[in-house]
């Protein structure tokens, strides 16, 4: 136990690793030390003074051993002043008080100073409801201001690049955003100008935040100084339901929270997962959620019918019945899957195929941080259940397409049946004989396997739009009608996958916790199997 120290925080004994600061050590025993400027993933600035705690150390005698008092315990000497929790490392025998009178008085003082120039415009501030300043005002605020002078006025509604609006009056000068842009985003563009109460956060003209990670500073801003233009004035946070989800926009699979109200998703924010995305996500992924509530979403199954004009809407039983009839008549079925679909859906889709099962890769430029070159969230899952790249091949007259639109025209020409499951009207749905409306990642359960071979879980944030069905449910209904499987729930599908795929053996959906499970070792063990090369390759590249 050489790497840990024992200390006492508020009377509770804590065993903490050496070098840990007091905020984190207190967190270990469930004590929250209020703070603004400290962020576990950034360097320590120690400028907000909110995390002041009362720290005492054992008094050392002449022999450098702790002196023992008359009660048989070491004599503790407290500092004349308080120490900041964020920059005080734990030490053996340390005694910390985070809630005594001295500390409370200090925090009340700090709060009063912070609120002197803070405009009390919570009714129009987007941060209201998730504002640290509001929260700690309730705990340590006075309830009334003693400040009778005029408040300092600073620039309001300043655009900070195309994605962010800055309100300098609300800024409490914690410098988290400055440190994030410098240390994580790699663009040293923000800074403070002027002195004292005139200190202002700003950027050099022409050097506005312009990276793919800018919007993270909106998340880490403890007050409403930095607001995202995308979410500004859209909805109050207290109406929004938080659903733990996974970003579907690249193979990194950042853990996210979807914020929705009454079937509409208003924003997507990162969720801490130190094995995947720490506390961050890229703006590309964050802002690409609008398709969920796109008014063009497909809502009912339909068949292309010459008899009644262009399209005839169907009920689900009709659609499933007609499609299976046609699939039975077909001389072979090929499938084109999407690596944007969940592993369960691809597994069921593969079961439909008698000819080839292919996926269409979507790639872009990687940025060596979170954005992966593979712009699909589940290519590893697609490979795992047996999908490969390439053109549809083999003997087939029916083609089932799940969420893709690129169908080679010569393939299209010889098809007798084209069935498409998709979200939005595409070239494929235009050409399709049958279109069955599926749902987005925000409306269904399922799993994605990211590029590093980590299996992660989706949760439904909103109910399916219109009459759409979750894609796995459509495929399960088709398989049932064809007599090729009976899956009543997504758990059944996963149980079948766990039985047939060694990489998923002995897993189930509840075992994949909110943070996912790393399966890379299972993939590497099977590295003779070329179907998982993408996972192996990216695991090998891991620094």
């Amino acid at each position: 136990m050489a790497d840990t120290v024992k200390l006492t925080i508020d009377g509770q004994e804590v065993v903490a690793p050496k070098g840990m600061n007091l905020i984190e050590a207190a967190k270990l025993v469930g004590i929250e030390v209020p703070h603004y400027c400290y962020h576990p993933k950034l360097s320590i600035a120690g400028n907000c003074r909110m995390c002041l705690v009362d720290v005492g150390l054992p008094k050392l005698g002449a022999d450098r051993k702790p002196e023992i008092g008359p009660d048989g315990k070491p004599v503790i000497v407290f500092g004349p002043k308080l120490s900041i929790g964020c920059n005080t490392p734990v030490a053996e025998g340390m005694v910390v008080y985070t809630r005594n009178e001295k500390v409370t008085k200090a925090r009340e003082g700090v709060m009063e100073f912070l609120l002197i120039n803070h405009p009390l415009d919570c009714p129009i501030c987007d941060q209201a409801g998730e504002c640290r300043l509001q929260e700690f005002s309730v705990d340590y605020g006075k309830g009334q201001s003693r400040f009778v002078e005029e408040k300092v006025h600073k620039p309001k509604r300043t655009p900070l690049g195309p994605k962010i609006t800055l309100d300098d009056e609300r800024c409490i000068l914690c410098s988290r955003c400055i440190r994030f842009m410098k240390e994580i985003a790699g663009q040293d563009c923000l800074g403070f100008v002027n002195r004292g109460s005139y200190s202002t956060l700003t950027c050099y003209p022409g050097n506005e935040p312009n990276t793919n990670y800018d919007l993270n500073i909106v998340d880490i801003c403890p007050v409403g100084a930095l607001t995202s233009n995308d979410f500004r004035f859209q909805q109050r946070v207290w109406f929004l339901k938080e659903t733990k989800s996974i970003c579907p926009n690249c193979a990194t699979g950042c853990n996210t929270v979807l914020w929705s109200r009454e079937g509409i998703v208003y924003r997507q924010t990162p969720r801490q997962n130190d094995a995947v995305n720490q506390c961050w996500m890229c703006d590309y992924g964050r802002l690409n959620y609008k398709f969920i509530n796109d008014p063009r979403r497909l809502t009912t199954p339909w068949v292309k019918s010459a008899a009644v004009g262009e399209r005839l809407s169907l009920t689900w039983p009709e659609a499933i019945h007609q499609v299976t009839d046609r699939l039975r008549d077909a001389k072979g079925i090929a499938v084109i899957g999407s690596a944007r679909a969940t592993t369960e859906e691809l597994f069921l889709l593969k079961k439909l195929a008698t000819a080839s099962a292919t996926v269409v890769p979507h790639t872009g430029e990687a940025d060596n941080f979170l954005l992966h070159a593979d712009r699909t969230p589940n290519m590893a899952g697609a490979r795992l259940v047996g999908f490969s790249d390439g053109r549809p091949s083999g003997e087939f007259t029916a083609l089932v397409v799940l969420g893709e639109e690129a169908i080679p025209s010569d393939v299209l020409a010889k098809l007798e049946l084209l069935m498409v499951i998709d979200l939005l009207p595409t070239k494929a749905t235009e050409a399709a004989h049958y279109v069955l409306p599926g749902v987005t990642f925000a409306e269904k359960r399922g799993t994605f396997i990211n590029a590093k071979g980590r299996i992660q879980r989706l949760n439904p944030a909103i109910p399916p739009v219109g009459h759409a069905w979750p894609d796995w449910q459509i495929l399960a209904a088709l398989l049932k009608e064809l007599g090729a499987g009976n899956y009543a729930s997504i758990e059944d599908v996963f149980a079948d996958m766990a039985r047939t795929l060694p990489a998923l053996a002995e897993l189930n959906l509840s075992k994949i916790t909110d943070l996912g499970i790393d399966l890379s070792h299972r993939f590497t063990q099977m590295n003779t199997d070329s179907s998982v090369d993408i996972c192996v390759a990216s695991v090998a590249k891991k620094p």
Binding site: P123, I124, F233, Q234, R236, F239
Partner: protein, 166 residues
């Protein structure tokens, strides 16, 4: 429990004593002051804290006081209030307030006149006025939108001028 039927005398069994007592009560009221009101023509006198229909107000400058913080929408027990937030135009006199409702709908069929919206409002923008007879021929007529609510509310004499120096 068994209740014994009271034994009535012959005089009581004629029922005349009760009839006469009833007539006497009626006669006593004839010379007294009337306290019924001819309602639709004669309106009742309401006092300042009466809780009638909720309305939105403007301040003396003509600024819509509501900033669409949506606290009333949150607190409303029957969920009668629905707000669509929006921006104040950059070049208008009240641009410093930044936010105002694009639309503000109160479903008067749902409103229970509890007054919680008025109580929770941090901007003193919504008030329950004296109007209590809200009727209409169609459901849509009872969806009060922003324009109608502002028209009903008129101008409120603002004592604080919270946004003057912001």
């Amino acid at each position: 429990m068994i209740v014994q039927r009271p034994k009535l005398t012959w005089w009581e069994r004629t029922y005349l004593p009760q009839i006469l007592a009833g007539l006497w009560l009626t006669l006593k009221h004839i010379p007294r002051r009337k306290f019924t009101r001819q309602y639709p023509e004669e309106k009742p006198l309401l006092y300042g804290d009466y809780r009638g229909a909720p309305v939105l107000v403007k301040d003396a400058d003509g600024r819509v006081k509501c900033v669409s913080c949506q606290l009333c929408e949150f607190v409303c027990p029957p969920k009668a209030i629905r707000i669509t937030p929006g921006f104040r135009p950059e070049n208008r006199f009240d641009a410093n307030v930044e936010k105002e409702p694009k639309d503000f709908v109160i479903d008067m069929l749902r409103c229970i006149y509890c007054g919680m919206c008025e109580e929770v409002c941090p901007e003193e923008a919504i008030f329950l006025k004296n109007d209590f007879a809200i009727t209409g021929y169609k459901r849509e007529e009872l969806q009060f939108h922003k324009e109608k609510l502002l028209e009903l509310g008129g101008v409120h004499d603002d004592k604080i001028w919270k946004w003057k120096n912001k």
